[in-house]
């Protein structure tokens, strides 16, 4: 007896030659079943998953593994357009994170735009938005077709200009450990606090705490020591970590700015609130006194109080004008999708913060004049952290339109 793998035709030929063939297993059926299993577990585990992206993406929120697979396979499918960037810092649960850069053509003098998503664990949809944005932009460019999101249309010429005049960087899943923890909470555990997790999964052993997690969006190097809207207690929802950039995930974001100095625009995608937020977050903006700035120690302890006029964070009038203008353009594009407007406002709102990604990014050129100025935003999508996926599909369209508009603004004439 000899085991083997034969086609139907080969079985017939072997039997005709006088052998007896016993069919042990129908491999076509097994393959079909396995494919279903794979796509159920990871819809984007193979390149083919990206080819059928539209049909697969609408099935539900992406997992951390799916996001990674999608990036790897996007590069495999479009090696001429996509560069896979392995980020240098593994997460606390030993995950490797990737970003991608997409570009076309030979223009060497181009600015970069960076989009990041899902920095907070419970804000799952940020990475879905980022992956949809990438796939749609690449597909439109490859097909020389327009990019359409609801009522917002980017003609093929604009798509071409974006990819041929700009470096588009996307880091879709900044906090994969946290998202995985949120997505795998046990609904029978008697509490849903795992689902509502915000921070990363640093066990905080180094600080002798049994409470895990650092709030990554309080771990950047912007007034980190000020404790404005942050906490030094590991059990807090806004625990800022042991030092600025103590966390591998926030260091991965920093790495992108340090490594690609052409990045001049940044959007950190969060939920929720229906907001497009611009700098600064620590206090009210003012445009008249450059001396009142985050680097000036004379104002330590005076920042973050909205009920007094002792301090306002300085922003040059021309920067403010530019930053608001770009935010308004993103909002117009977003509103064209289905008629829903977001609110454009300064991020300080009524809750001052420090050590956030957008303020760190905009502050880089002030701290070090060699760094490029980066216009930085936080978009708070939707009206809850994890909208029903049917609504998330609408939100994906809106935010992708806003992201595409920022790219067009950065790349266009």
């Amino acid at each position: 007896m000899v085991p083997g793998i034969l086609t139907d035709e080969e079985v017939r030929q072997v039997e005709a030659a006088g052998y007896t063939v016993e069919i042990v297993s129908d491999l076509s059926r097994v393959a079909e079943e396995r494919v279903q299993e794979v796509s159920h577990i990871n819809r984007f585990a193979e390149v083919a998953g990206l080819s059928g992206f539209e049909k697969r993406a609408v099935l539900g929120y992406m997992t951390a593994d799916e996001v990674e697979s999608a990036l790897v396979n996007l590069q495999a499918l479009h090696p001429d357009l996509v560069t896979l960037i392995e980020l240098p810092n593994r997460t606390w649960e030993n995950r490797v994170s990737h970003a991608v850069r997409i570009r076309a053509g030979t223009n060497m003098d181009r600015a970069g735009v960076l989009f990041t998503g899902s920095m907070h664990a419970r804000e799952w949809g940020g990475s879905d938005i980022c992956i949809n944005f990438l796939v749609n932009l690449i597909n439109a460019y490859s097909a020389s077709s327009a990019l359409t999101y609801g009522g917002k249309n980017f003609p093929a010429a604009q798509v071409r200009t974006i990819l041929e005049n700009l470096d588009v960087f996307v880091f879709p899943d900044v906090n994969p450990d946290g998202k995985h923890y949120s997505q795998t909470y046990n609904p029978n555990s008697g509490t849903s606090q795992g689902f509502w997790w915000r921070k990363n999964r640093n066990p905080n052993n180094a600080v002798g705490s049994s409470s895990p997690g650092v709030d990554l969006n309080r771990n950047f190097d912007f007034l980190w020591a000020s404790e404005i809207g942050t906490s030094s207690s590991p059990s807090s929802f806004t625990y800022k970590g042991q030092s600025a950039f103590s966390e591998p995930e926030s260091r991965n974001v920093k790495y992108l700015f340090d490594t690609y100095p052409n990045i001049g625009y940044f959007v950190d995608v969060h939920s929720y609130g229906g907001l497009i937020l611009y700098n600064w977050g620590d206090d009210n903006n003012q445009t008249t006194d450059p001396g009142q700035n985050f680097l000036n120690p004379a104002y330590n302890g005076k920042r973050g109080n909205l009920t007094d006029t002792l301090y306002g964070e300085f922003i040059p009038a021309q920067d403010k004008e530019m930053i608001v203008k770009l935010a308004d353009r993103m909002n117009s594009a977003l509103a064209a999708v289905r008629g829903k407007n977001y609110t454009v406002q300064q991020s300080v709102g009524l809750y001052p913060t420090s050590a956030t990604s957008d303020d760190y990014v905009f502050s880089r050129h002030i701290v070090n004049g060699l760094n490029r100025k980066v216009y930085a935003y936080t978009i708070e999508f939707g009206e809850e952290f994890v909208p029903p996926f049917s609504e998330m599909n609408n939100i994906i369209q809106e935010i992708c339109a806003a992201m595409s508009e920022l790219c067009w603004a950065a790349a266009g004439p």
Binding site: T63, V96, P187, W196, G349, L350
Partner: protein, 91 residues
Amino acid sequence: MGYYIVRILTDTWDRLRDLQRLYDLDVFGQTAKQLADGSFEIKGVLPGERIEFLSGKGYRIEVLADAEEIAKERLKDVADPGSPTEDRSDQ
């Protein structure tokens, strides 16, 4: 005692800020707003006992949704989340 999405109302900005600064609650800073009557509101996710605690401190609290139920529903929207955190040291 359950877990709830809530709207918290208070009269002053200092008391609004205390929710995070003093009581370390999971309130959503970006939802904070001042109402036409001058009072302040913010949304958050709180366990039942904290709702009682805050009520005792004079905050007005409106329960908007059962956070446990939302969590169960949204989990169905993940294609397949896989298993809780596994050892990835070989990857």
